[in-house]
Symmetry: C2
Subunit: 334 residues, 2 copies
């Protein structure tokens, strides 16, 4: 195994978030599952946009948010994902490169526009997402560069990649290259509904060892094992995964290994403004710690720190340097 060029390379749907505040009534009136991500077509995208309030646009995408978080911690980071060569695609590209993330996936020159996620933030800070996949549909195995994957210590993949038709093949190709190069593969289960769409395949990835590190939140874990009992699901995960980290909102997280289940507390915060990106940024902190050889507890504390930062403001990417924030909290990352 040669020295790595990147600490973490993420592969995911390249999405621009369109964020508006909304009341709970709005979700009900538009048949949205609060807290979940729904895939929508262009007609529904138009309908939702026409109905929703004044919005701001900012670059998003689950794995992309994580990778920007890794870079903010000072980690060496790269991203693979598909935008179109349009205004929002140029904004996505600008933003991720401005965050010092390597991003060289060629944009689509025709086909649907850059993916958009219409996010409703309710007064309790919860976010409800509606994704029009657009150009992200066109991520293809040919977008996976073997040398870049082989030079990345960890590749990080989002479960949402199972939605676009060719992205799954890109995912599998990347995982194979990574393991051939003695690199690690991490997967986030993304969303409880995503898990229910692809449960058998996700379990297969974990059981076969295609995935070395699993990230999930509580509802995704419960959905994976089709149970309402956390301990039952955690025990099942422990018997199948090499390493899994399950986030539990204000209850913190548990790190699950063959050795046991270790709980790590959340960071106390003043007020939840917008939970968008909480899981993504948790994964960023954990991966930075992990790729720098920190123990699981320290890695989880870095995750908790990053998650706490991102839920205290609107938007899914850090508003401050996570490297500085970590240093201020006695959690040096390098």
């Amino acid at each position: 195994m040669t020295a790595s060029r990147y600490d973490v390379l993420g592969i995911g749907n390249a999405i621009v978030d369109v964020i508006a505040r909304a009341e709970d009534d709005f979700l009900v009136a538009h048949g949205m599952n609060k807290g979940a991500m729904a895939l929508i077509d262009e007609a529904r995208a138009k309908k939702i946009y026409d109905a929703m309030g004044s919005a701001t646009e900012s670059s998003g995408g689950s794995a992309a948010n994580t990778i920007v978080g890794v870079a903010s911690f000072g980690g060496r980071a790269a991203f693979v994902g598909k935008v179109k060569n349009d205004e929002l695609g140029r904004a996505f590209t600008h933003d991720i490169r401005a965050a010092r993330v390597g991003f060289d996936t060629p944009p689509a020159s025709d086909g649907p526009s850059t993916a958009r996620c219409y996010i409703m933030v309710t007064p309790d800070g919860e976010r409800t997402m509606n994704t029009f996949l657009g150009a992200a549909q066109d991520l293809h195995p040919k977008d996976i560069d073997e040398a870049t994957i082989a030079a990345s210590a960890v590749i990080y993949l989002e479960g949402y990649l199972w939605d676009p038709p060719h992205a799954k093949a890109a995912f599998v190709k990347a995982a194979e290259i990574a393991h051939k190069s003695n690199r690690k593969v991490a997967l986030t289960l993304s969303d409880a509904f995503c898990v229910s769409r692809y449960r058998a395949e996700f379990l297969d990835l974990i059981r076969k060892g295609t995935v070395d590190i699993v990230f999930a939140n509580e509802s995704e874990l419960l959905s994976l094992y089709e149970t309402a009992d956390f301990d039952t699901a955690a025990k099942q995960m422990r018997s199948e995964a090499k390493l899994a980290v399950v986030t539990r909102s204000e209850k913190g997280c548990v790190v699950i290994t063959r050795d046991g289940v270790e709980a790590v507390q959340a960071m106390p915060i003043e007020k939840v403004v917008d939970v968008t990106g909480a899981g993504d940024l948790f994964a960023a902190g954990f991966l930075v710690g992990h790729s720098h050889g920190k123990d699981h507890r320290t890695s989880a504390r870095l995750g908790a720190l990053a998650a706490a930062e991102v839920i205290q403001h609107i938007g899914a990417r850090p508003a401050v340097s996570l490297k500085s924030l970590a240093a201020e909290n006695g959690l040096a990352t390098s």
Copy 2:
């Protein structure tokens, strides 16, 4: 004079803000005047965007921000301005209509793209603006609908309208219709550099009585009368304007009439995050009060309240209902 359909109708450059945090060094390195608005061409826009950090996009434009503020206070509001029929133009249109502002100016179908303002927010909360006027260049007298102007109690115009070639004619046409219909005309001087570009014309508008209400901040007032002494400039304004309101940041504002100069305090706030929109929202509050028959002091307090709200978060438009905020502060607007 018949009953009005709108309390305030604004005419201005329709702009999407592209906002990023930046250090003071960045402004120096790129030759920007801190706190000011510079007009830039497409080549410089590209250069600035390539150099600046991760950004968020949100609808802006000085008069448009004011009008959205008027609507947020529960005022009946309309806006006239030119976007292109592109992604950012659709975002601008969506956002202003979602704020319950009447907006019917037809978008340009060809020519330059929707106007963008690249805004650098430094750690002290000051904002430095670089505007690519794009489609806003094409606002034309034919975009001014006589019946709509005649049905608006106050029309509100931004000094920035002097920059695009035909907008000045649109401005003059609107002011003539308004006065013919016994309506009032308000003007914001916009920016000290804008004042130095068009000083003679702005003075002429005030002296001729084309403008009934002048909004300015301290540096714009000083620029207008080419003096460094506030009292000298205020005295001069008092001798020329029917009504002028001059904002002085944390020192509050002064309301200048033929009767005298009355100071009104600013609202105390915890932390300035981003001053973008402070003057725009001050004008919104004052105009709402004025158009509802409140005295100048009450109108100025409504302005101070709205300004205080907008500088405590990123972005130039209110994040909460100003009507509710006014009620909570014992300043009912209706």
